[in-house]
Symmetry: C2
Subunit: 211 residues, 2 copies
DNA sequence: TGGGTTTGACTGAATGTTCAGTCTAGAAAG
DNA sequence: CTTTCTAGACTGAACATTCAGTCAAACCCA
């Protein structure tokens, strides 16, 4: 096997390159309208090669979504790890699901979620990706809140109820953001979420500048 | 034109019949996978006839969604009108967006919303349907809350913030319900929503039996 | 070392299917 | 007889997938 330093032609890298390309296409054409040819073009290869790596279009798209979710979750974990207080961590998570990131690699945007949800209805594989992703996310928040409660940062609310409500709220706001709704932009969504969080958990919070 | 009493062949009725058929197909195939032939079959006619009534597939689907939203909104208005207190009215609206209806004609289900959102991203016409529908809904709740506040039923929260949060929450919960998420079923969604509402507006509320 | 053989990455040109939309003509109503 | 409505057959384009093979690196064995 080629193990040299700057080698960009490895199979794994090719795969990932295609997954990224797929995500971009999904983002601007939508999941069901995404053509293999588009992905190939974006990745600078031929349709046949895409099929060579992923047996079917379906597999390609499903893996792309999974890839996106995993990356997003990993980024969340990483960012939270750098923050000391539970309140700060929670704020960071809320920020992640409200405020757009400049870096964005791959660009896990809200639009993708809309497709994810719509596909999950009929597509079992996608449904399971979503389900797992959601669960993972909820558990992250859950344990974070519990830690905050033990540390005395947060009041004693029912954690299960709080987490489910917060997640629903964030998803609902994500829809507005994704669709550019004039009444709720990203900043507003962030503020509403944080007001909910601080109100429920009983800690003080005031709007600051965006990071 | 035929104006006789029991006539089911009128153009308008034909249209509506097709719209209903379209909604059913969208529901179980998804918006982008809905074929003219499916709709025709469901409506018991030919594809050509469907095109005769709606010039294009796109127009058919868009109108179907609009039809669904309008019907749903009208039903909401009607139901709310029969209830005296603002708190009761609000509860009814929350129930409508959480609890499944047996009658359902046409079956405005959550699944449809997922498609609506996903389509709205790229499809301007659909986006405007969604936008208007959302706005209408928000205004309904808004004026309802204001009325409740004047009547002294509700406390003095910022109505704009409350409405946007509630709508987001309801949408987020709708996703879970639509996707049969094990952690949040319809009943739970209703309870979480009502707890939020009563908490924010400061009125007493305890779970009762579903209507 | 050098020949042959294997293997993985890759491609361009088919293939076959699926559909939206058209065309033509027949039925029904007035 | 004319207008409105309806259907069956058809067309043309779009697209996923297949196929038959090319090319080059890697491995093997004398």
């Amino acid at each position: 096997m080629r193990e040299q330093a700057g080698d960009v032609g490895t199979a794994d890298q090719r795969r990932e390159q295609m997954l990224r390309a797929a995500l971009q296409v999904i983002q601007d054409r939508g999941f069901p309208e995404t053509r293999i040819a588009d992905v190939a073009e974006r990745a600078g290869t031929s349709p046949a090669l895409v099929i060579y790596y992923f047996k079917t279009k379906d597999q390609l798209l499903t893996e792309a979504i999974r890839f996106s979710e995993d990356t997003w979750y990993a980024a969340g974990k990483r960012r939270v790890a750098t923050i000391p207080t539970a309140a700060g961590q929670l704020e960071e998570l809320v920020a992640m699901s409200c405020l757009p990131e400049a870096d964005a690699e791959p660009p896990t945007s809200w639009v993708l979620w809309l497709d994810l949800w719509a596909q999950a209805v009929r597509h079992a594989e996608v449904a399971s990706v979503r389900q797992k992703s959601d669960e993972r996310w909820r558990e992250t928040i859950c344990s974070l809140v519990l830690a905050g409660q033990e540390a005395g940062e947060f009041g004693q609310v029912n954690v299960g109820d709080f987490v489910d409500s917060l997640c629903a709220l964030l998803h609902g706001l994500a829809i507005q953001i994704a669709l550019d709704d004039p009444s709720v932009d990203a900043g507003r969504a962030f503020e509403l979420s944080m007001r909910f969080v601080s109100g429920q958990l009983g800690f003080g919070w005031t709007p600051r500048s965006r990071s």
